[in-house]
Symmetry: C2
Subunit: 220 residues, 2 copies
C-alpha cells in the first residue's frame, strides 16, 4: 500500500525514518495542525496551516484550504507535513546544535469531497480528532453549513516519517574534551483551564469530556 517512490525515499537520515502506517498514525494522532503545500494559480508554491482529520485510508483537510485558489489546469500532488518539536539540542559546537522532533510528510492529490454524506463523515473525523466528544455534544452541521463547507481528502498512500531524538552527536571526537555543557532542553505543550465564552448563558457548565480532555500534542 505504501509506495516508496523517489519523493518519499528517505534521504538525509534513513536510519531515523519509516514508511509504516502505525508510525504515521502515531504522529498524526499527537497533533492537530499541519502545513499543506500546494500550487497557487500561477504555479507558485503556497503553504497554509490547517487542521485535519484521520480517515481509514485518507486524511481530511478543512478550513482555509478550502478557500484557496489552487492551480487546476496543472495536475500536482500536494504535500502535507505535521511536525512535533520536542526539544532543543544544545551541543558543544554551534555546528551540532539541532532540534528533537517527530514529523511526517504525506503526498497526494487533493480530492474535493462533494457528496453531503461523505462531507459529514469527513467533518466528523476532523471534529473528533481535535475535540473528541464534541460531535455528540455540540450542534451538528445542518445541510446549509454542509453545503457551505468545502472539504478535501488526501489518500494515505505515499508518506514518510522522520524523528530525531536524544543528546547531541558531539560526545565523541575532539569537541567532547571541551569544557562546554551539552544536553537537551525538553519542550512540550500544556493546556490551561477552560475559559468560558463571556457571553455564555448562565448555569451552563463544561461537559465532562472537556474538563479532563488533553488536546493533541499535550502531555499530562
Amino acid at each position: 500500500m505504501v509506495q516508496v517512490d523517489p519523493k518519499t525515499r528517505l534521504r538525509r537520515h534513513p536510519d531515523q525514518g519509516s514508511h509504516s502506517r502505525s508510525d504515521l498514525d502515531a504522529i498524526l494522532n499527537r497533533a492537530f495542525v499541519g502545513h499543506l503545500g500546494v500550487l497557487d494559480k500561477s504555479g507558485q508554491p503556497f503553504v497554509v496551516p490547517t487542521v485535519y482529520g484521520i480517515g481509514q485510508d485518507c486524511i481530511y483537510l478543512h478550513g482555509s484550504v478550502a478557500s484557496m485558489s489552487l492551480r487546476k489546469d496543472l495536475q500536482f500532488e500536494a504535500t502535507f507535513v505535521v511536525t512535533i518539536v520536542e526539544g532543543l539540542v544544545i551541543a558543544r559546537s554551534i555546528f551540532n546544535h539541532s532540534v528533537n522532533y517527530h514529523s511526517c510528510v504525506i503526498y497526494g492529490e487533493l480530492e474535493e469531497i462533494a457528496d453531503p454524506e461523505d462531507k459529514l463523515e469527513g467533518l466528523k473525523a476532523i471534529s473528533e480528532h481535535i475535540a473528541p466528544g464534541q460531535w455528540d455534544y455540540a450542534r451538528r452541521p445542518n445541510s446549509k453549513e454542509i453545503r457551505k463547507t468545502s472539504l478535501k481528502r488526501m489518500a494515505l498512500e505515499k508518506f514518510s516519517v522522520k524523528s530525531s531524538e536524544g543528546p547531541p552527536s558531539d560526545s565523541v571526537g575532539e569537541d567532547s574534551l571541551l569544557d562546554v555543557w551539552a544536553g537537551v532542553i525538553p519542550l512540550w505543550q500544556v493546556r490551561g483551564d477552560l475559559v468560558a465564552d463571556p457571553d455564555l448563558r448562565e448555569k451552563i457548565f463544561p461537559p465532562a469530556h472537556l474538563e479532563g480532555f488533553l488536546p493533541k500534542g499535550v502531555e499530562s
Copy 2:
C-alpha cells in the same frame, strides 16, 4: 517596503491581518521552527520544517532546506510560514469550532549565501535566535564546517500576518440559546529542566544563560 501584491493580499479575514514589520517580528520572535514551501525538481510543491534566524531585512534558513533538490530551471518564490497555536475554540455548533493562532507568511526567492563571512553572520543569527548566548559559549563553526554548511536567505519584503483570538463567534443568533458550553481551551508550550548529555564529562555545569532560558514559544 512591504509589497501588498495579489499573493499577500489578505483574503479571508482582512480585519485580522497585517502587513507591518513589527507584527511580523512579533511572530518570528516567538517561534523557532517554520515550514518552507518550495518546488522540487519536477515542479511539485514540497514542504519542509526548518529553523530560522532573523536578519535586518531577511530571514536565514538552514538545515534540511540546504540539502533539498530544488527546481533550478524554473524561477519560483518560496513560501515560509510560522504558526503559533494558542488554543482550541469550542463552540456551540460544530461549524464554529476553530483554532486560535498567530501566523505569518513570507514570500520570496531563496538566495544561496556563498560568502563565508555572510554565512557566519547567518549562522550567528540562527544560533542566537534559537538559543541566545550559545554563540559566545559553544565552539563556533570552523572554516571546514562553514564550507559544509549551505545557508539560504529570503528577503523580508512580501509578507502578511494573521491572527485569530477570543471566544467562538456563535454567541449571537439561534445557537446562543442552546444548552451547550462554549469557550476556549488555552494551549502553550513549556520547557523542562535541562537534561545533560549522558556522555558529558564530569563537573561541567550548565551556563547561566541556559538555566533560566525560555526558548521561543515558551511562556513563563
